[in-house]
């Protein structure tokens, strides 16, 4: 149990530093940035206390906000996908899969993994950019940024989950 908690906290700090030091400075085509710290929510163990998970997601988003001077936009969007993650997984997978104790996201079939990642990433991005621009008149820019940054993030996440996940 302790080992598991340590791993989660290590990932928590690791993703903050990775996002702030590396991925906030990519600026593909001038403004497209991947938000890979989302991976922390994607990979969080399924069999765990849901309240703690929600609170930690909020905290992770807030830490990113502290670094990027952005108020609470990352906290709000990350908390949102942390909340919809469980309903999404139950609708994507059969119950037997979810009950399996050693279930890991990377064991999902590729199509389901892709839709799991895409839905979460796109909903995160649309909340994030809506809060950042904070006006309906910018809906075109919000959608453009959501789409472009979203594709970049999805590609990076799919590749890295395939590469770095434990194989049996």
């Amino acid at each position: 149990m302790n080992n598991k908690l340590f791993k989660i906290l290590f990932q928590f700090i690791g993703f903050i530093l990775l996002q702030v030091i590396v991925f906030d400075n990519i600026h593909l085509f001038g403004y497209v940035n991947p938000y890979i710290y989302i991976a922390w929510v994607l990979l969080y163990p399924l069999k765990s206390e849901r309240g703690l998970f929600l609170f930690l997601s909020f905290l992770l988003g807030l830490c990113i906000d502290f670094f990027s001077n952005s108020g609470g936009i990352n906290a709000a969007s990350l908390l949102f996908i942390a909340y919809i993650r469980f309903p999404l997984l139950t609708s994507l997978l059969r119950k037997a899969d979810l009950d399996f104790l050693l279930f890991h996201v990377s064991n999902m079939p590729f199509i389901k993994l892709l839709s799991y990642i895409s839905i979460l990433v796109l909903s995160h991005h649309i909340v994030l950019f809506s809060l950042e621009y904070f006006s309906f008149s910018n809906i075109g820019i919000i959608l453009k940024h959501t789409f472009l940054s979203g594709i970049f993030t999805i590609v990076l996440l799919v590749i890295s989950i395939q590469l770095f996940s434990p194989r049996k």
């Binding site: 530093l17 001077n69 108020g71």
Partner: protein
């Protein structure tokens, strides 16, 4: 009572989610109001520390450029000085005891510079322990950069002119028409000038400088040149200003303290209250 407890138990995750989401929204709304100082900012010692380490590494790669900027600045100041010396020898000697500068300058280094978002902030490595306060002007050798917002002991955040909430008083250099400098969030090398009266005579290439009305910046700090403009009926629609500064490559900055600021503000307040 039983019902309430049952209800709370059933929806406890939803309630937690709602509460945390409301807190996040509160921070977001706070960050969108220009006048409130924010709780979530990168002037804290942890975020500042990480950015200092990052900029220490980055410094190594920009040494050459930084050197060139300094020598250019040196050159410009030396030219100015020789002008003054020539004038001085002709005119009276000024008793320096009575001539006190109205502005104090503090040097600082930018450790984090945003310019791709809609609301950009800059983090610098000096804070309230170096005498910085909120609402001081920030400039560098080429021109204007922003206004100090949040402070900790060692670090401060600067509201960049590339922020949709930044509104600065500027004027045309060749005539005394005042306007307001804003940013539309598109290109980080062009900002927009609004509120210029229609009778002002504009032409492409005119220089824009700070107006000196705001008690933050001294008058005459360079901002940029007019790139293009359009009419709409009886007023100027949008005047695009090309900045002298390359906002994507900022290194060292100066923070301006207006010593007479309190006095000026007090006087202005008294006048409006009467």
């Amino acid at each position: 009572m039983q019902q309430i407890i049952y209800f709370l138990r059933k929806y406890r995750y939803f309630l937690l989610f709602t509460i945390l989401e409301l807190i996040a929204l509160l921070f977001t709304i706070q960050s969108h109001s220009f006048h409130k100082s924010k709780f979530v900012n990168s002037a804290t010692s942890i975020t500042g520390g990480v950015y200092t380490q990052m900029s220490n590494i980055n410094d190594f790669f920009t040494l050459k450029q930084e050197n060139r900027l300094l020598s250019e600045e040196n050159n410009r100041l030396k030219n100015k000085l020789s002008q003054y010396l020539q004038e001085d020898s002709k005119s009276m000697v000024i008793d320096s005891f009575y001539v006190q500068s109205k502005y104090n300058y503090t040097a600082a280094k930018i450790i984090k510079n945003d310019f791709r978002k809609i609301n950009n902030f800059i983090t610098i490595n000096k804070g309230s322990s170096s005498g910085l306060k909120s609402d001081m002007g920030v400039v560098n050798t080429k021109g204007i950069i922003g206004i100090v917002k949040n402070l900790s002991d060692e670090y401060a955040t600067v509201l960049s002119i590339l922020n949709s909430y930044s509104k600065l008083n500027v004027k045309l250099k060749n005539s005394n028409y005042f306007g307001t400098l804003t940013w539309d969030g598109n290109d980080y090398n062009t900002v927009q000038l609004i509120d210029i009266p229609r009778q002002a005579n504009l032409s492409v290439g005119d220089t824009i400088i700070t107006g000196g009305r705001s008690a933050i910046f001294p008058e005459g700090i360079r901002v940029g040149v007019i790139q293009d403009f359009q009419f709409e009926g009886t007023k100027f629609n949008e005047i695009n200003i090309r900045l002298f500064n390359d906002m994507s490559a900022l290194g060292y900055v100066q923070i301006i303290e207006n010593i007479e600021r309190k006095q000026q503000q007090l006087l202005e307040e008294q006048t409006t209250n009467e």
